[in-house]
C-alpha cells in the first residue's frame, strides 16, 4: 500500500543525490550519530534521576527543564539528518523489519516523552510517587533504546 510512495521518495532528487555521492551518506550518518549521543545524554540524565540514580540531590523538574532544549534540539537534528538518510534508501527501509520497529518506537517515544513524561518530570517533586518515577524512567529508556537499536539494525539488513 505504501510501497509506491517509498519508491517515489527513493527516486526523488534528494535520495538520488545522496546515493550518487560517495561522501554524503557517511557524512550525514556520522552527524546523526553525534546527535544520538546528545539526545542520549539529555534523555538518560532525567531518566536516571527518575530511577534514583545520577544527580539525585537535584529536583527532577530542574534537571528536566535544563535538559529540555538539548532533547528537543537534538531530536530535531536527528530527524533532519535521518530523513535524507531514509530518502536515499527508502525501498530498502520499506522491506526492513528494523525500520518499522524503529519508526513505531520513535512515534511512541515522542508521544510518551512530550505527554506523560513531560507532565511527570516538570511537576513538583512531591506530586508523583517514586513508583511513578521509576515506571516513567523505565518506559522512556526502553522506548528510546528500541529506537536506537532499530536504527542500528537497519544497517545490518
Amino acid at each position: 500500500m505504501l510501497l509506491p510512495y517509498f519508491q517515489a521518495i527513493e527516486n526523488g532528487a534528494i535520495g538520488a543525490t545522496i546515493r550518487d555521492s560517495l561522501w554524503l551518506f557517511p557524512f550525514v550518518e556520522a552527524f546523526h550519530l553525534v546527535a544520538l549521543a546528545v539526545i542520549g545524554g539529555a534523555v538518560l540524565l532525567v531518566d536516571f534521576r527518575l530511577l534514583g540514580l545520577g544527580l539525585k540531590r537535584h529536583p527532577v523538574a530542574e534537571l528536566a527543564w535544563d535538559a529540555q532544549p538539548w532533547l528537543l534540539g537534538s531530536l530535531i537534528f536527528m530527524i533532519a539528518s535521518g530523513v535524507p538518510l531514509f530518502m536515499s534508501e527508502a525501498i530498502k527501509c520499506y522491506y526492513s523489519f528494523a525500520f518499522w520497529v524503529k519508526m513505531t518506537s520513535l512515534a511512541l517515544a515522542i508521544i510518551f516523552t512530550f505527554t506523560i513524561r513531560r507532565r511527570v518530570t516538570l511537576a513538583d517533586d512531591t506530586r508523583f510517587s517514586p513508583a511513578v518515577y521509576r515506571a516513567v524512567g523505565t518506559i522512556s529508556i526502553l522506548l528510546w533504546s528500541t529506537v536506537g537499536w532499530g536504527g542500528r539494525w537497519i544497517g545490518f539488513s
Binding site: 550519530l33 544520538l36 549521543a37 542520549g40 539529555a42 540531590r57 535544563d66 533504546s145
Partner: protein
C-alpha cells in the same frame, strides 16, 4: 614481529574468525557499542556543556563529577571492551584503516585533555567556582576541547566502516597510504 604481522596472526585466530563470520555476535556487539555511546559520550557532553556554562547551571560542577562521572567511567569500560572485540573481529583491516588510526590519536588527545584539566590549576581551585553558573576560562577551554574531540571521535569511529583509503582499495594518494601504513610493493595494479 611487526604490528602488521601481529594483526595477521590475530585475524587467523579461531575466535577472530568466529566473530567475523558470526550471524549475530558482531551486530550485537556493535549495537552495544552504539547504545553505550549514548551513556558515555552523552554524559561526557553534559559535563562539557556545564564547563562551558551553557546547561545545568544550578548544578555544582562537583555534583556532576561525583554523580555522573562514575557512569561515564563504567560505560567507558563497556565501550572499550566492545570496541576491542569489534577490532578483534577485523584486526588487520582495522589496523590499516586511516579513520581507526585517527580515532586512536583523538582518544589519546581526549585523555590528555581530561588529565590536564583534572590536574590543572582551574580544577584544583574548583571550590571557588563550583556553584557559579559562569565558569572560568580554563574550564570553558577544557569543555570546548573535549566537546570537539568527542564529536571528531564519534565521526571517525563511524567512518571506520568505509574502505576508501584501505590498502586493498585503489590508491587515492601517497599521503593516505603513509597514514594507513600500506605496503603496495607486491600488489597488482588494477
Amino acid at each position: 614481529m611487526s604490528l602488521h604481522n601481529l594483526m595477521q596472526w590475530m585475524a587467523d585466530t579461531k575466535w577472530s574468525v568466529g566473530l567475523h563470520e558470526s550471524r549475530y555476535a558482531y551486530s550485537i556487539i556493535e549495537s552495544v557499542h552504539v547504545w553505550t555511546l549514548c551513556l558515555f559520550v552523552g554524559f561526557a557532553v553534559l559535563l562539557d556543556l556545564r564547563l562551558l556554562g551553557v546547561t545545568l547551571k544550578r548544578v555544582p560542577v562537583s555534583q556532576i563529577v561525583t554523580r555522573l562521572l562514575p557512569w561515564t567511567k563504567a560505560s567507558f569500560v563497556v565501550m572499550v571492551i566492545s570496541g576491542v572485540l569489534l577490532f578483534y573481529a577485523i584486526p588487520l583491516r582495522t589496523y590499516h584503516n586511516v579513520f581507526f588510526r585517527a580515532k586512536a590519536v583523538l582518544l589519546l588527545l581526549a585523555a590528555l585533555n581530561a588529565w590536564l584539566f583534572h590536574d590543572g590549576r582551574v580544577y584544583q581551585g574548583l571550590a571557588e567556582w563550583d556553584s557559579a553558573p559562569a565558569t572560568p576560562r580554563g574550564a570553558k577551554l577544557a569543555g570546548a576541547f573535549s566537546l570537539a574531540l568527542w564529536v571528531a571521535i564519534v565521526f571517525s569511529g563511524r567512518m571506520i566502516a568505509y574502505n576508501w583509503f584501505d590498502c586493498e582499495s585503489p590508491q587515492k594518494s601517497a599521503f593516505m597510504d603513509t597514514i594507513a601504513g600500506c605496503d603496495r610493493t607486491n600488489q597488482e595494479v588494477p
